[in-house]
């Protein structure tokens, strides 16, 4: 008998590799159907304006145009956490670029010509573009109707203001904490709006057929959530809505929830029987899909001379944009993680989501955390230097550890951050730093190291659940029916590994098909680094269920107790008797007994998972014994070279260490880290959406919104710590988002060590560094 193959911790080849290197993989934009129509959207030309008149009559008459819709045709509000958004502007446009009308026509050329025939009369309203002005009393309101909007209980809008969520942490007694402090450090930090910029722009096809059923094919991280939002908004039963999700060409949060797909629904309903297709242009991708909100914050920390933090006060203001249906949750996530990786006894955090007349803020990889850690992790270095302590040493004193509490008062166990920090420091060759870098005269380039930590929990409702179905084919191959999305993170590979491990079949014999809400097992969304953890558990259970059935068949087939049979390498066998074995195929549809009677029947295993024991945070204090499913920790150290004359930072080396609990596939895990590090580097050095004084985006293209190219990649050293997650499969927890969070602050800290300057506003462009150096 062959040894049981162990797939856990093994670098199997990605299950999607062949499809993707041969060009066979299909994405939403690759789909083509008979009778298909092409959609173009007319977009608003003001950041804030009343729609006085929208006249599409000429467009409707253009030959080849099959459907035209405007906001009043479909005034349904939608939203995942706060129901504040219509697919097309109704009465008002609230950002420059908001859809005003949509056209479906026989060709994209005709659709675009039709857009030019739609007459729109605007009455300009004062735009709300400055985040800090927007919160002042008397500011024009972006949503005067905010108090009427439905929202989930965990969101706290402030009626008759621009604040769509106010999240609070009140832990211990901050005044007392500051009174005990020997040193108080206070500073402000800023992150600009940025874009996910997946290489695949948003794309979707919608069909409303003659029986009144809506089918959407979409590049989406959230087929089931999309169905739910549409069902709730349209008051349709879910069995009238079907969402199919082919491969996603990069999501990073931007394809979560309901997005551009909503604009297709009324067009499809007017062009009955015609699939209507929208592929966003890169300009639309930059401006008119979710963006990461800008955030301005003030952070104040009290610390004892011995390095122990006594109190923290944190105010964050989020530039939420025109609609904050998803963005409100970013605010919340940044609030409950506002202690970072530190054990801080007394805390006061206020995180405000603010409406502005800017593009719609939404989730972006590690949302809330990339932003608040930009502040926290620089702040920690600043405090360390004020105390004359090494930043690693200072962090070690304050790190969360066994029995510590975080911002929510949750008592923590099995905390891996200490090991991560130690390992990252070791890998980069950390040597004690106790102050700013000093520039010797005549030196043009300097090298230095910096370090930063992070933690993040999945920001999701307490009922975010997963299911899995394992079906055996006649020949013993397996259909793993799950509805996690393959975004590139390797979900299909890792989930297949778990299935193979538990069921005892070969990894190669398992297939996962594209998500289809009509046929697929339920999945909340592919977000929050939760798939390996949550869907992984469901797969584990489903595979075990299928294996139990297989062993039951085998027990009758071989005439032995069920406990005496096992499955490995696609064979079912009697333990200890290698001669008595059959391929899984023999028993997949049931067992044929010696008298030729059948037993059992086709095998279908089922599994489900919901994180248990999560308790809602108190509305006033944010306190909860278990506010989230789990926390993942990590640390990154970087080495940079700074060109002092140009101000240019080159990242030479990055050491990244994460506590993955258990690594299921070391290659896909390391690849995630590398990708995250480079995205983090890109955000740190290059990325910013720039707006003019009228709220127009100035750089909606790769010409002037630069992302890292292959020429920017540093040497990357990736390592994992494995402190098991109690309820994770084999102890695994998510790392997908975490890996880009600490890169920018680690670079900022290295910059300080190089030249004694800080740039507290992202990105750290050559110009901004140069000015900081000049001021010094």
């Amino acid at each position: 008998m062959a040894e049981k193959t162990t797939y856990i911790g093994t670098a199997v080849v990605r299950s999607d590799a062949l499809e993707k290197v041969t060009g066979a993989a299909r994405y939403a934009g690759d789909l083509k159907f008979d009778r298909m129509l092409y959609v173009k959207l007319l977009r608003g030309k003001y950041a804030h304006a009343r729609l006085v008149r929208v006249d599409a009559s000429k467009a409707r008459k253009l030959p080849g145009v099959k459907a035209v819709v405007t906001g009043t045709d479909f005034p349904y509000r939608m939203g995942l956490y706060l129901v504040d958004r219509t697919p097309y502007a109704v009465e008002k446009v609230r950002y420059y670029g908001e859809p005003v009308a949509g056209v479906a026509a026989v060709s994209p050329e005709v659709a675009e010509e039709a857009l030019g025939l739609i007459e729109v009369e605007y009455e300009e309203l004062p735009p709300v573009l400055d985040l800090l002005e927007a919160i002042k009393p008397g500011s024009p309101l972006v949503h005067p109707e905010l108090h009427e909007y439905e929202h989930v209980p965990a969101i706290f809008p402030v009626p008759h203001t621009n604040i769509s969520n106010h999240f609070k942490i009140r832990k211990g007694d901050v005044e007392k904490g500051f009174a005990e402090a020997d040193l108080i450090v206070e500073d402000t930090y800023y992150v600009p709006h940025i874009q996910h910029s997946p290489l695949e722009p948003h794309a979707a096809v919608a069909l409303y057929d003659r029986e009144g059923k809506l089918t959407i094919w979409a590049s989406s991280q959230s087929p089931f959530a999309m169905r739910k939002i549409l069902s709730q908004s349209l008051r349709w039963p879910m069995n009238r809505i079907r969402v199919i999700g082919p491969y996603v060409g990069g999501g990073f949060g931007g394809k979560a929830g309901l997005n551009v797909e909503a604009t297709l629904v009324p067009l499809a309903m007017k062009a009955v029987g015609h699939p209507v297709k929208l592929v966003c242009t890169r300009e639309e991708e930059f401006r008119d899909t979710f963006v990461r909100q800008g955030m301005w914050c003030r952070l104040k920390t009290g610390v004892k001379r011995n390095g122990r933090i006594t109190a923290q006060e944190f105010e964050m203001y989020w530039d939420g944009g025109a609609y904050t249906e998803y963005g409100v949750n970013v605010t919340r996530a940044a609030g409950y993680s506002s202690a970072g990786v530190y054990d801080i006894p007394n805390m006061k955090t206020d995180s405000y989501c603010v409406y502005t007349n800017k593009p719609v803020g939404g989730p972006l990889r590690g949302f809330g955390h990339g932003e608040n850690h930009w502040a926290i992790e620089q702040h920690m270095d600043q405090i360390a230097h004020r105390l004359g302590m090494d930043p690693v040493e200072f962090r070690m004193i304050n790190l969360q550890r066994e029995g510590s509490t975080n911002a929510t008062g949750q008592v923590l166990h099995n905390v891996g951050i200490g090991k991560c920090l130690e390992e990252a420091a070791r890998l980069i060759g950390w040597t004690k730093v106790t102050g700013p870098g000093k520039i010797e005269p005549g030196v043009k380039k300097v090298r230095a190291k910096g370090i930063a930590c992070m933690t993040k929990a999945p920001a999701m409702p307490n009922d975010a659940a997963s299911t899995a179905i394992v079906k055996l084919n006649d020949d013993g191959t397996v259909v793993l029916n799950i509805s996690a999305q393959e975004l590139g993170q390797g979900a299909f590979t890792v989930l297949s590994q778990i299935c193979a491990e538990e069921l005892g079949v070969r990894y190669e014999d398992i297939r996962i098909y594209p998500v289809d809400t009509d046929h697929g097992a339920y999945e909340w969304q592919t977000v929050a680094s939760r798939i390996t953890y949550s869907c992984g558990r469901a797969v584990m259970e489903a595979a075990r269920d299928a294996k139990r059935q297989l062993c039951d068949h085998a027990s009758r087939y071989f005439g032995v107790p069920a406990g005496d049979v096992d499955v490995a390498d696609g064979r079912v066998f009697v333990k200890g008797d290698p001669s008595r074995r059959v391929p899984v195929a023999t028993l997949a549809l049931g067992a044929t007994l010696p008298d030729f009677s059948g037993y059992g029947g086709p095998i279908v295993g089922r599994g489900k998972f919901i994180p248990e024991g999560i308790v809602a945070m108190d509305a006033e204090t944010g306190q909860s014994p278990k506010p989230v499913a789990n926390w993942t920790y990590g640390a990154q150290a970087v080495e940079i070279e700074l060109d002092l004359e140009l101000g240019k930072i080159e990242v030479k080396k990055v050491a990244a260490v994460y506590d993955a609990g258990r690594v299921i596939n070391p290659v896909t895990a390391a690849a995630q880290v590398e990708g995250g590090v480079v995205q983090g580097l890109s955000i740190g050095l290059f990325e910013e959406m720039k707006f003019d004084e009228r709220g127009r985006l100035l750089n909606p293209s790769y010409v002037d919104y630069k992302i890292a190219t292959a020429a920017e990649i540093p040497e990357m050293l990736v390592s994992f710590v494995e402190v098991p997650q109690e309820d994770g499969p084999y102890g695994a927890r998510g790392i997908g988002e975490h890996v880009m969070v600490p890169t920018p602050p680690a670079i900022a800290n290295a910059l300080f060590h190089a030249a004694g300057v800080r740039v507290k506003r992202l990105p750290m462009t050559s110009e901004s560094v140069r000015w900081a150096l000049k001021q010094e």
Binding site: E283, L646, L698, S701, A711, E712, T765, S766, E767
Partner: protein
Amino acid sequence: MLLPFDYVRARSREEAVDLALRAGADGKFLAGGTDLLVRMHDRQLRPQMVIDLKGVSGLQGVSCCDGEGLVIGAATPLNRLIRDEAVRSKYGLLAEAAHTVGSLQIRNRASLGGNISNASPAADTAPALLLYEAEIVTWGASGRREIPVGEFFKGPGATALAEGEFVSQIRLPVLKERSYGVYLKLGRTSAVDLAIASVAALALEGGEVRIALGAVAPTPIRVKEAEAILRSRKDEGAIREAAAAARRRAAPISDIRASKEYRLEMTEVLAARAIEQALAGLAAGGR
């Protein structure tokens, strides 16, 4: 997706000019298309007629006439130029500058004629052409013209080309002395970016050092004031003075890529580095 237009492949210089004159403002010449088609895609331009010049004789390739320098067909893709032995050995600065344009894919299409005809202040090949004192050969309603490159650029997007006129060749006069050229370009990313500021320096065996700037004035400019400083002295102090002179000549704008002030400072920094490296290269043997 592009919006409809008519494409015509001109078979001769005369036909190209004729088509362009008839189309007037609705006509656009096409060579590599890496600028024109982008603007059409972005709906900044909507020509009714696109006149492809790639089939016109004399517009392709590099020819070397003994003792008379080099003639480059305006529609020659930059990669062909970069790989051309005559260009590399004698006009290395042009190859180096062309190498910084866009990506490899772009350089397989983008042409030298297109790069200068668009008259971007940041056109990477322009400073090198200024320093080699290139002649721009054009064809138009009045036939053939030769325009010194220094008189070709008139402002951002504006050239000496008349309506219906196009660049057919770029002539590089013979360079008898050994020389060494350096092109320094500061972008945001390390590859595939437009210049925030750029400086070309060409050190000649006879003692002359030529300097030109990109992206820091309405046109690419040559800085004779800086060159004059270096005619007799090439010590560290002279390099610093020349770099400061370059900065004084620069008249940049603030835009999305950088502020005016940063561009001014970088002009000085890059100029000093370029001069230093060009002198060192020449001392090490040159080209």
